[in-house]
Symmetry: C2
Subunit: 154 residues, 2 copies
DNA sequence: TTACATGCAAATCTTTTGCAATGAG
DNA sequence: CTCATTGCAAAAGATTTGCATGTAA
């Protein structure tokens, strides 16, 4: 499934630019780990990516996973978030599109959404305090209203 | 400054109830550490609380700080948040009042706010996805528009 | 007297780093 | 060739835990 090269063309392009600018190189594991990361669902932890990579019978050490993820973060290609527990999760930083999260505590499902009205209000709040809004994090937590939620945890 | 007993009367009351319900006890360090916590600004890390406690020449180990903070968390009296870096910060969980955060990246100031319109929209978003909103986290990041921001970092 | 609380040090967990060996350009 | 990347194991930082001892109720 190397077609992330097409789907995420812009991603690889920006990565290319970043590597060049920083005089960094490509490498077998770097490329492969990134491809696997792009294949996975969003909100991936280092541990999860590591397991997935191993599952694909590809060899890469934990240190490489972290170094790759940090590289992507430095390149501005992924965002690192800390939800509840102690481990960070990474998500693709789509250009001029940012998803907020709606997390179902019944089943741990993470739904992404965007709401222009909320964003406008956020800008207003910031400005009312003399700040120019540069970024934000919005996570909503809720429980499933459907008794038979197919995602419900056992 | 043991007047947190008055200001935070409701806090101590709920704590009392929780201790009783869980068959837990009061203790010199437990009480004192909590008083110091309440005296401090919000968004306190375990490390900061530990330092503050020592500054007051009170003796309590790091483990006790963590255990006390976890107790308060379990009692629903404080919320634990992970902002940027690796350490968690704790804040008082005021009853039916939750503050969202507006963080100035120019000076690291944290301003709390509340906006009913945003909250209503959040509820709508959750319901549109079949979820009943139970909680949320909203952090806005911005830069100071005032050139002479008195809080500006050197 | 009977748990629970404390302090310390050891243990965990996640993430980072030093270093020798390997690989890319 | 030269410099970046890798893997491993060790290090680091934050938080938790086991255990012997102290202490509320």
């Amino acid at each position: 499934m190397a077609d992330s090269r097409q789907t995420y063309h812009w991603f690889w392009q920006k990565l290319e630019a970043f590597l060049a600018k920083s005089k960094l190189k490509h490498s077998k594991q770097r490329n492969q780990v990134i491809e696997y990361f792009l294949e996975m669902d969003d909100h991936v932890s280092a541990e999860e990516l590591f397991s997935y990579v191993k599952e694909q019978n590809f060899s890469a050490g934990m240190a490489t996973i972290y170094r790759t993820l940090n590289l992507l973060k430095d390149a501005g290609l992924v965002d690192q978030k800390q939800f509840t527990d102690g481990k960070a999760v990474y998500e693709i930083n789509f250009p001029d599109e940012h998803h907020d999260h709606l997390i179902c505590t019944t089943c741990d499902r993470v739904i992404e959404f965007e709401n222009a009205e909320i964003e406008a209000l956020q800008r207003q709040v910031a400005e009312a305090h003399g700040l120019k809004l540069t970024d934000h994090t919005l996570d909503l937590f809720g429980t499933c209203m459907d008794e038979n939620c197919k995602y419900k945890k056992s």
